[in-house]
Symmetry: C2
Subunit: 131 residues, 2 copies
């Protein structure tokens, strides 16, 4: 899996790294126990600061996406991410609310907002079917 | 419309202000030309720093949600927000991707992710029907 960063994006670099690894796991391009590059090598590969990669990895570790072994290095968490509970579902809705609101303010219809969401879901589902 | 802030949230306060005003506009609780409190009075009402409110208002102004008149004060933009173009739709999908990915990683099904999104859409639509 390649990590590609957009240096012009409004999203911080560490946040882009987090997002891409989570997307990689969701698309099953990254599987439990798969190795990730070390902080040092990822930083040098993409030409960014060690601390930026470290910040991303620490977040991913804290959320249960990866394990950081002193010896074996960084791997996708062998037991998977903690499953969604009802609190998480509430948080997810909380996250979606301003996004949906923005679309509505910009005159998108309910249908077209639903359709865009469906397109994103389908991207992941298609990846699924290929495996 | 009341602005209620969650000081324990991971979202920054200025970002919560932005989100709530956008949600208010989407729900038609805030309509074109409706006045908003001045930076000073909102800051003092909710007990936060002037700069935090100012940062939120500047963002809302830049995105076309509000107008800041020196004399008439702050109002919801009379002409509405710039409409969504195809670039915006791409950005929206870009925003949704990591959110959907996180849900999938946490073992939510495609169906339940779609259902959560629908619930959020319905919240807005219900508000619509009441008016």
């Amino acid at each position: 899996m390649l990590i590609s960063l957009d240096f012009e994006s409004k999203d911080a670099i560490y946040s882009q790294i987090i997002q891409q690894i989570i997307i990689g796991i969701a698309k099953r391009e990254l599987r439990p126990n798969d190795p990730l590059p070390s902080v040092r090598s990822l930083a040098s590969d993409i030409g960014i600061n060690l601390h930026t990669v470290n910040k991303a990895y620490q977040h991913l570790k804290q959320e249960g996406y990866i394990l950081i072994h002193r010896q074996k290095g960084v791997v996708i968490h062998p037991e998977g991410v903690p499953k969604a509970d009802s609190e998480y579902k509430e948080t997810l809705k909380q996250t979606l609310r301003p996004i949906v609101a923005e679309g509505l303010c910009k005159d998108l219809s309910y249908e077209s907002i639903a359709a865009l969401y469906q397109e994103v879901l389908d991207e992941f589902r298609e990846g699924e079917d290929e495996k």
